[in-house]
């Protein structure tokens, strides 16, 4: 099991190879990428930043929870920081397990918990030159929309 916050481009194949095992019947690979349109606005890139020490420890805690909950330690997660262009990967999650259902459930658990708990922030850059911090809790009532 390995989790890391990094500042270099991610390599999905490397993480998949890292979790591979002849004990496994299934490996899953999740790749989160920078999307062109968010909330109707044209995105040109995203700056990712983090509270480094807490992001590292929270990521490790979540991986430990996934391991005990789903029964595999063949888990590798990397989250990238810095300025990413469209299509670049911001997060890779690789999970390998004897059974496919548990592998997929573990992966879903990992990405959902990471999105809720790991102190990472993104500031989107838009095609019109503006920038904005993304607030998933903002909903329809909060201000800040340009």
């Amino acid at each position: 099991m390995r989790t890391a916050i990094v500042d270099h481009p991610l390599d999905p194949a490397a993480l998949l190879a890292e979790v591979a095992s002849t004990e496994s019947g299934a490996s899953t690979l999740f790749v989160g990428t920078v999307r062109r349109v968010n909330e109707g606005k044209l995105v040109s890139g995203i700056d990712y930043s983090a509270y480094g020490p807490m992001a590292e420890s929270e990521l490790a805690t979540i991986a430990n929870e996934a391991a005990s909950r789903f029964g595999t330690t063949r888990i590798a997660v990397e989250h990238r920081l810095g300025t990413l262009a469209l299509g670049e990967a911001s997060i890779i999650i690789a999970v390998s397990h004897e059974r496919r259902a548990a592998a997929m459930d573990a992966q879903r658990f990992l990405i959902e918990e990471i999105k809720k708990r790991v102190p990472v922030w993104k500031r989107e850059h838009y095609a019109d030159g503006s920038r904005e911090w993304v607030d998933p809790t903002a909903g329809v009532v909060a201000g800040g929309a340009a």
Partner: protein, 78 residues
Amino acid sequence: MEISVLLFASWSDALGPSVTVRVPAVATVRDVMEAVLARAGGRALPKPLVAVNHRYAKPESPVRAGDEVALIPPVAGG
């Protein structure tokens, strides 16, 4: 006592990467949060959580001298 509070994202843009606030000698997360909110004045900033020593802390949790305290605005990783 004085507590230095780390800030991130929109909070850091508005107030800088950290602020030092004065709270009672026996203080809670709520006391620290209120002191930092007072610094924000009328600015519209997203409601944060608080972390003490790299763990999310409840409003009633104690804060002691030397703790690493951080305001955690809504996270958006992944």
